[in-house]
Symmetry: C2
Subunit: 342 residues, 2 copies
């Protein structure tokens, strides 16, 4: 299991408005094909020093002097904040995830008089329902629609979290440019949700959406073929590290491998990939490292997702594309290839 | 090297019209990334028995009686026919291909007073030009544009060869339905040329065309990753045979592997592939045969080509899609997955 940075949600009034006096949501869990993503809230307390209030001449209360000098006296005020925390588990270890909830999240819920609710989405909300209710007695499990949750979460991030959405351009300095308020009015956009497989959602103004397409060539394909090619049951991140060290030109057939140079009448440069893995059978005896294969694979999968995204965006008259999901991982090569102009 | 059925072109007047008195094209060669495809013409003679001409009472010539009986006498007439023959070689053995031309084709050219021409296209027409001219002295090499040749050849097949173009529907009886004259007016159509990589061409009425897209995930990808997964430097056809014996559900993550059943609100059936190769990393210890992997790979590549073809067709307002290229091979599974409704 690994951790993502928690988000301080103390100031999000839209969350408070939905607070229910009678029930409390203690966790939210998305159980996908490969990963289960868990979100829960923690409360923290912190002290802030504020200047001493000027004495009110009409008040009969005597001010308490806390500091050593009257002219910059302060008081310590204690505040309560809330953080949204994230953990992920591999779906095949779903029981460990449920144990974590039972042992670490539920005991911290203060008001046990409320009905405690766990919201669950993703395919595992159906597949593992009986396991979940058995492992978490006393918790009411409410199923949420996966795509609906995805779109609402995305809209929440766009409105509230300035350092979550960014554009990426390898040649720019910095390559990541975070988008804050300018993204609020980004509708309509194509949301490309890259999990084990990929869904393409057209999200309209107001948060309504439709699933306009999908592909089975996603993160699970990269991880799966990558594991078969490299052996040793590598983690996803190990594969990404390998990809960074590889030379895909040992494996991919470039336009210049066929033409000797560019295919000028079609405007195809010599280093364009004509056939992913096209040299593997044609030059079987060439020495290749696993890293070379994994890099070619990452490029093939990422590029294909980017191409399909671009086609679905054009077909649906959408100008902006947002890529999300665990596959991206802030990995430069992935983002570069996804967002190449098609 | 392997052979495709020759086509009897004796009756094709459009070829005769282009016959040049001063030069003769003795072969045409398309050198792609993986395969070199050679076409050449052979002359054959055959005899046909025709009924004896009735004697012309005004003629002074005496009829020769060839048969035993006067009332059904016949004469043997000798005719000359022409066949277009095809051979392919792996591009890495291009020298063997050129040797074949020098030893088997050129010696059969009757009229050596003409200028002998070889027409060459594909990337190898550029990459291997010096090898070709060295190996075939005395032959004038003329380069032709690859996409232009492809479209002209396709138009020729549609007009002239009834048993070359067919629709495929696994559930129909027969599954192949050959299209003859009904395809003459099929413009515009999307021509999907599946070689090592894939090109998508929009072909307009009159044979004008534009390349509207491409993908690097083509036949070279299937052959390349297939060779890496199965070992032993398999031929393309060996991989296709393996694919027919495999069970992709051991490797692919289906919707029901995630949901336990269908994802009904999205209309995704339980046996839809959610993630190609999605189980390979998630269930690393499961027993899988190479055939299972190769079948999953063939489905992934074919399905992706079909999906892209459908998207490019919709974007370009084209109703008909023709799939061609060595990748197809008349292979049922490939054709079925390519043409699934996307």
């Amino acid at each position: 299991m690994t951790y993502a940075s928690p988000i301080d949600i103390s100031s999000f009034t839209e969350l408070e408005e939905k607070h229910d006096e009678l029930s409390e949501c203690v966790f939210a869990l998305d159980i996908g094909g490969s990963l289960a993503k868990l979100a829960y809230q923690t409360t923290f307390r912190y002290k802030v020093c504020l200047p001493k209030q000027l004495p009110d001449p009409h008040s009969k209360r005597k001010m308490t002097v806390c500091g050593p000098f009257d002219f910059y006296d302060y008081r310590e005020h204690e505040y309560e904040g809330h953080k949204l925390c994230f953990i992920k588990f591999e779906t095949r270890f779903i029981e460990a995830c449920l144990d974590f909830i039972r042992e670490n999240i539920i005991p911290n819920v203060v008001n046990s008089h409320q009905k405690l609710v766990g919201r669950v989405t993703g395919g595992g909300a159906f597949k593992f329902l009986s396991t979940i209710t058995t492992k978490l007695p006393g918790i009411t499990i409410e199923r949420e629609d996966e795509m609906e949750s995805l779109v609402r979460g995305c809209a929440f991030l766009l409105r509230n979290i300035p350092d979550e959405v960014f554009t990426y351009d390898k040649r720019a300095e910095p390559a990541h440019i975070f988008l804050s308020s300018c993204m609020v009015d980004t509708y309509p956009f194509l949301l490309v949700n890259i999990g084990s497989g990929v869904s393409f959602l057209k999200v309209e103004a107001g948060g309504s959406y439709s699933r306009v397409g999908g592909t089975s060539l996603g993160g699970g394909t990269f991880w799966g073929i990558g594991a078969l090619l490299s052996g040793d049951g590598p983690s996803f991140d190990t594969l990404l590290e390998l990809a960074d060290q590889g030379d895909h030109r040992k494996v991919d057939m470039l336009v210049r491998d066929i033409y000797g140079g560019a295919y000028e009448s079609l405007g195809l440069a010599g280093d364009v990939i004509a056939s992913s893995f096209g040299l593997a059978a044609r030059r079987p005896d060439e020495t290749r490292r696993p890293a070379d294969l994994i890099k070619a694979l990452l490029i093939a999968v990422s590029n294909n997702i980017g191409q399909l995204a671009c086609l679905y965006a054009r077909l649906n008259n959408v100008q902006r594309i947002l890529f999300g999901g665990f596959f991206i991982r802030g990995h430069g090569l992935t983002m570069e290839v996804c967002s190449i102009k098609h």
